[in-house]
Symmetry: C2
Subunit: 392 residues, 2 copies
């Protein structure tokens, strides 16, 4: 399959890398920077001070805007756009994880384009640019630091929507694995699920995959599985944090999708509705949904699930390919359990009503305007069935 590959983000990876932030902004020609962040943790750990200091040393002025929450909100994006216009900001710096970076990308779209920024997420029109941005990563999960995508939640109707374009790719990403030591285990594991799922979504597709892409994807999934368990025992294992952090970027920068024709992405779409309505952690939501999705669709393309079972879990060839495919799905759910991740909605801590499941399924398929997934093109009816299967 033909493909484009474009990952212009300059990665500066390693211990103490955050000290180079000022220099990196200067290299990009930034004069007035918005430092965008989430909760108080970047304040408490002293990271924000370090970043401010690094900018000051490079002679760059800045304004601060914190308060980004998981499933980042449109209202905060609008606040950021206003502030940046007032302050004549010309470079955006995200200090945080995927939510902060996504919020920063949305601010960048808003600044560089006329009209309402939600239009892009609502698929009303295309952006013609984005104010340049960089990231100092503190959570390994979303891969937003190298990806072309951002996901924003509109509180008006709690609609969670993604928008992708090359314009919003970070100019640089500063990645110091030590910055992720203090993450609570649930968030670490949820991040690891998100990382694996970014590759698994691409892995499950109907095309003849490229062997090289398959090999890279399988190495990535195995590496993250193994290191997630190491981090359960020892959250300050530098090597494990480094493996997971680098995997987070490679998993979503396009590398694991080269030649695959795009991937399935149904689990992400189905989870987005959970995130929009119940505000659950994205990775945990994916773990809770994936098994039900896989059981629902694997008969459509058992070969791919059978390869997954063999390559990821070293399961032996069986006479019945469907049986092997199913065994692989069970192994993956075992893996999620050993990471302390939910494999159904009850374990995720939510019990949606019949009406809510119906509403989420309809929203997911844009009220009949689209199907989701490629292994099986799922209608709202299919999606509703998957929510039911996942109830637990």
């Amino acid at each position: 399959m033909n493909f484009d590959y474009f990952t212009p983000t300059k990665v500066v990876f390693g211990k103490g890398a955050e000290a180079k932030t000022g220099e990196l902004v200067k290299e990009q020609g930034g004069h007035k920077v918005l430092i965008h962040y989430g909760s108080g943790s970047v304040v408490r750990t002293g990271l924000l001070d370090k970043i401010c200091h690094s900018l000051e040393e490079a002679g760059i002025s800045y304004v601060l805007l914190g308060g980004v929450v998981p499933n980042p909100r449109l209202s905060k994006v609008r606040e950021g756009i206003c502030l940046c216009r007032e302050e004549k900001v010309d470079f955006l710096l995200a200090v945080g994880g995927g939510s902060v970076i996504d919020s920063t990308k949305a601010i960048g779209y808003g600044l560089a384009n006329e009209g309402d920024v939600w239009d892009f997420y609502d698929r009303k029109r295309q952006a013609a640019g984005c104010t340049p941005l960089g990231a100092v990563l503190t959570i390994a999960a979303a891969g937003s630091e190298m990806s072309d995508s951002s996901v924003i939640t509109n509180e008006d109707g709690w609609i969670k929507r993604g928008y992708s374009s090359n314009y919003c790719r970070c100019r640089f990403a500063v990645m110091d694995p030590e910055l992720t030591y203090t993450l609570p285990d649930y968030q670490t594991q949820s991040g690891c699920v998100d990382i694996m799922m970014h590759t698994m979504e691409r892995y499950f597709n109907l095309s003849d995959n490229m062997e090289l892409t398959d090999g890279i994807s399988e190495a990535l999934i195995r590496t993250v599985m193994k290191n997630a368990i190491i981090l359960k025992q020892n959250p300050s294992d530098y090597n494990a944090r480094a493996e997971v952090m680098w995997a987070s970027s490679l998993s979503h920068n396009g590398l694991t999708g080269c030649g695959t024709g795009g991937g399935d992405w149904a689990s992400h779409q189905i989870e987005h509705e959970l995130g929009g309505m119940f505000d659950v952690a994205h990775g945990a939501g994916l773990a809770a949904i994936w098994g039900s999705w896989a059981r629902y669709v694997y008969p459509e393309h058992p070969e791919r699930f059978a390869r997954f079972a063999k390559q990821i879990f070293d399961l032996e060839e069986r006479a019945d390919m469907q049986e092997l495919a199913l065994a692989g799905i069970e192994k993956m759910e075992d893996c999620y359990r050993s990471m302390g991740m939910p494999t159904n909605l009850k374990e995720l801590g939510i019990e949606p009503t019949e009406a809510q499941m119906h509403e989420m399924a309809e929203k997911c398929c844009f009220f009949g305007q689209r199907t989701v997934g490629v292994i099986k093109k799922l209608t709202a009816e299919d999606v509703e069935k998957i929510y039911r299967m996942a109830r637990g």
Copy 2:
């Protein structure tokens, strides 16, 4: 190990991708283009016409400069710089393989900097920029289309030297696997060796590698080995050509070196002298040298060679790690033989005299100014021994 990763090249991969060349140059703001190429094959196949047509359609004017040879020459680079200054060229387009792209990069350095371009290759000073360039790839081998390096041969003394900087990374790379169908088998296989070696040079090092990088590297080496043999039988196998072409880029864009601390590179340095003195095909030269290098250095770090044996050739663990390491080296030489590649200098077609081996070893180590390699830091005396071992 800390690392930087920067691969800004926009890849457009697939059948017919060359038709997008004009559009890509326009996107980069090019007005007057130098089309740089090698032998008549791009003329005979009609590729040059297609490229010219694509530029014309995009309203971009151009001048042509062909005649780049393998182990590209400094004289041609100087000719290119002159021509570009006269013609006020603002964008460089390489149509060919690594030699053409490297020659184009050197022209770019010459245009963007005052003084003699050889200074950079001769390590006298650093470049401060490079005229922007793009590539239409016709040979999968050198990986120059995404790499930061270029290698030029100075006919005055037949000195072959590389110079690396991010300035010379291609803005875009057009990769149509069909363009490589007509390559003679020897060149195809030589290219495959070069691709594997770009990853193997990085793989053999003294640091605790990143697991993810190891996994990716091993997937890449296995993929190229397998598809090289497929291409021996069927040079027009699209999938095999695509796997090899994409591997060529990933092998040398930095991906397989992330967190490894740099790699060994002695085989490349030792081969460069062969290329400079005898003008052999680079990949074939690497195949002819690698086994002797490996036998000479493996006792310094048998663990790494043992892992290579297990992961690449599925060899079983043995009580004696040295024995396993050596078995892996033998397997690799078998692989080269099955590709029709030489495993010593006689098979490569050259029989250097004692004096020539001494001269190459001295040149390789800059007459005592440096050692080469990291698994074992090789002096001129070591290098001379390796040439002797490789004589066959």
